[in-house]
């Protein structure tokens, strides 16, 4: 089904308030060898905005395509289709073959692996000196040194570490160097691809706090790729949930975690271990969610089978949308989109759902 554009696009804010606007982003990876025609769709028609000065979390499991979105935005992968609007220009059209220096000066990236993202052959200063010089932020040795030192302090490191090699630093320190490297070009947007997942747990929160500080103090927008809903909730203003290459739900982070609407989001949330949670999940309900997610042809909610027709975005709350037939007006009643006439058990089942306090979405 070709979908009604107006209906499935997110609420369109004025372009000036948006750092990045992504529309219809699609990426196919070729499979097999030189002459193979097969391909795998990693990212499927993804739309989202990153409002200026906010952190947008993109949450999903491994293989959901979330890292590919970040790499496409960093222009490390060439998307198969779609547009990326930064600074009012669709950069995939204006800078077709490779990203311009201007783009590199606007959009920066922090990688997942703190061991792999710093070249072991260079000292820390090299990682800051190169962007400073390439983007004309510093020209003399003294300027480079002074600005590098300042960057180090910004990310909570000391100047003397500039002369260290990466292997002399801990994982957390390395990740801070990566953030400093991204900051060196004075970017507007930072793409953070699972910046904490390979760190020791006790230093993770520090990196998240640093991200929040950079947003609050410098107005930097961020796309925060993570598999951890809790970190997304902790630091991100908006959370987008990605499943099998497509966005299935999005909204203000607290609201989304409070009222998860898509079966996948619910499943994901119910699986996160949280000892503080008062309501235990019900295995029967979980099994239904699982089936809805993994076997859409056998979706336990009748009329909500999304294998035949693609669901469109439905608004379920202020700044909160979901792509699931359950919420389409044909299937559900107008007052409570979660209920269907054909499935009287639904309400009781959903009451046993893993979310402690579930309010009916307006």
């Amino acid at each position: 089904m070709t979908t009604n554009t107006g209906q499935r696009r997110p609420r369109t804010a004025p372009i000036d308030d948006v750092s990045v606007r992504v529309r219809g982003l699609t990426k196919d990876f070729p499979l097999g060898g030189l002459f193979s025609r097969r391909s795998m769709r990693a990212v499927d028609n993804v739309d989202f905005d990153i409002p200026r000065g906010t952190i947008v979390a993109l949450v999903g499991e491994s293989g959901s395509g979330k890292s590919t979105v970040a790499r496409a935005l960093a222009r490390l992968e060439r998307p198969t289709a779609g547009s990326i609007v930064v600074g009012g220009r669709d950069v995939l059209k204006t800078e077709k073959s490779a990203a311009s220096r201007r783009y590199r000066g606007t959009v920066q990236m922090v990688f997942q692996d703190p061991f792999g993202s710093l070249n072991p052959a260079h000292r820390v200063e090299h990682f800051l000196e190169r962007p400073l010089r390439i983007h004309g932020k510093a020209r003399t040795r003294q300027e480079v040194r002074r600005q590098s030192a300042e960057l180090m302090r910004t990310v909570g490191l000391t100047e003397d570490m500039l002369d260290s090699y990466p292997h002399e630093l801990s994982g957390g320190q390395r990740q801070r160097v990566s953030i400093a490297r991204a900051l060196a070009v004075d970017p507007e947007i930072i793409l953070a691809d699972e910046p904490t997942s390979m760190l020791d747990v006790s230093v993770r929160i520090g990196i998240l706090n640093l991200m929040a500080r950079l947003r609050d103090e410098r107005g930097i927008s961020m796309l925060f790729i993570t598999h951890d809903l809790a970190s997304a909730r902790y630091v991100a203003d908006t959370t987008l949930v990605m499943f099998a290459g497509a966005l299935v739900e999005g909204g203000e982070s607290l609201e989304l975690m409070q009222n998860p609407s898509h079966p996948y989001t619910r499943l994901l949330l119910s699986a996160v271990p949280d000892p503080a949670r008062t309501v235990r999940y019900d295995p029967v309900q979980r099994a239904r969610l699982r089936q809805a997610v993994l076997a859409p042809t056998a979706c336990p909610w009748q009329g909500a089978d999304c294998s035949a027709t693609l669901p469109v975005r439905h608004t379920v709350g202020p700044d909160h949308w979901v792509r699931c037939h359950l919420y389409s007006p044909q299937v559900s009643s107008a007052t409570n989109p979660l209920l269907t006439d054909s499935d009287p058990d639904l309400e009781s089942n959903l009451d046993a759902a893993p979310v402690p306090t579930r309010k009916a979405a307006r």
């Binding site: 960093a74 000066g105 052959a121 190169r130 390439i134 490297r181 070009v185």
Partner: protein, 313 residues
């Protein structure tokens, strides 16, 4: 081994999967040289190579004159006058051996350097251009790896005008593929590292990424490839010359053996005619192999032979 696979030693010692090296084994690259210098195997290898290098350079001083000239009675066993005896033609074996070192080492190192360079170019080009170019280049590499070396050497050498130049060219043609395979897989694995992506995002020029980010991390593998290629060069040259495909008028360890065999040294009991050149080839190859193992051990500490054999539970 006269015709050995230059990739064999390298490929086996450094498995393609870097994943098996645990994080604790990650060593700083700058420690490589110090590590090698402090290694007993490397010290032995370097000393032997140095000795041969000095002898090769000083050969005209140590044994003045043209070593192929007939200067003595034929087929003399070692004596004070001729420390290593004389050939069936009456040439001094010691002089032949020392002068032979010049050609053999020269050809070996030239071939080693050139084959490594070609391999490096192919490997780096594969990593740099990716997909289609990489597929084509690795196809060519694999075809060359598969075609048996010695017969190929023979038909190439047979059709080209004889001479040292031919030998060098032919050995490069047959020897580059092994190093290309190893260097390509290393270059590709570094190419896929996040620090390369980070450099791209920073806005670095692709050539700078190639030379400043990727190449410095390939130092140790380039070194072992080079050493393996030199071993290949020296051995294969000797093999070619032994078959009579070199320039028989040039003095080298290979031609010495060719003449020794042609003159029937084996059957006349003149062991001194063929022993020295072969031992020299073996010593040089062994020394190079020792340095190579030292490089491997320094970069992959797990391969070290531990002295205290703790009981396995």
């Amino acid at each position: 081994m006269s015709v050995t696979n230059p990739s064999e030693t390298v490929a086996q010692a450094t498995p393609d999967a870097p994943a098996v090296v645990p994080a604790s084994d990650r060593r700083p690259r700058r420690g490589l040289l110090r590590g090698i210098l402090g290694n007993r195997k490397a010290a032995f290898g370097a000393a032997v190579l140095l000795l041969f290098g000095v002898v090769a350079l000083a050969a005209p001083l140590l044994a003045p004159g043209n070593p192929s000239l007939i200067t003595a009675i034929a087929s003399q066993p070692p004596s004070l006058e001729h420390l290593l005896g004389t050939t069936a033609k009456g040439q001094d074996v010691l002089a032949l051996t020392m002068h032979g070192a010049r050609t053999s080492l020269l050809v070996g190192f030239v071939v080693g350097a050139a084959a490594t360079l070609v391999g490096l170019l192919v490997g780096v080009a594969s990593a740099y251009f990716g997909r289609v170019i990489d597929d084509l280049l690795s196809l060519v590499t694999n075809v060359f790896l598969l075609i048996p070396g010695l017969p190929l050497l023979v038909i190439l050498a047979a059709f080209l005008p004889p001479g040292i130049g031919t030998v060098v060219v032919v050995l490069i043609i047959t020897g580059w593929a092994g190093s290309a395979r190893v260097l390509r897989s290393q270059a590709l694995s570094i190419r896929s590292k996040d620090f390369v992506a980070a450099a791209v995002v920073t806005g670095e020029h692709p050539l700078r990424i190639m030379f400043r980010e990727i190449l410095p991390n390939m130092a140790s593998i380039v070194m072992s490839t080079f050493l393996a290629c030199v071993i290949f060069g020296i051995g294969a040259q000797a093999g070619l010359e032994f078959l009579g495909l070199g320039d028989a008028s040039v003095v080298s360890w290979g031609t010495n053996l060719y003449w020794a065999s042609n003159d029937g040294a084996l059957f006349t009991g003149a062991w001194w005619a063929f022993a020295p050149s072969g031992l020299c080839i073996a010593l040089v190859a062994f020394a190079l192999a020792m340095v190579n193992y030292a490089v491997d051990e320094v970069t992959n500490p797990r391969l070290r032979t531990t002295k205290k054999g703790r009981t396995r539970a």
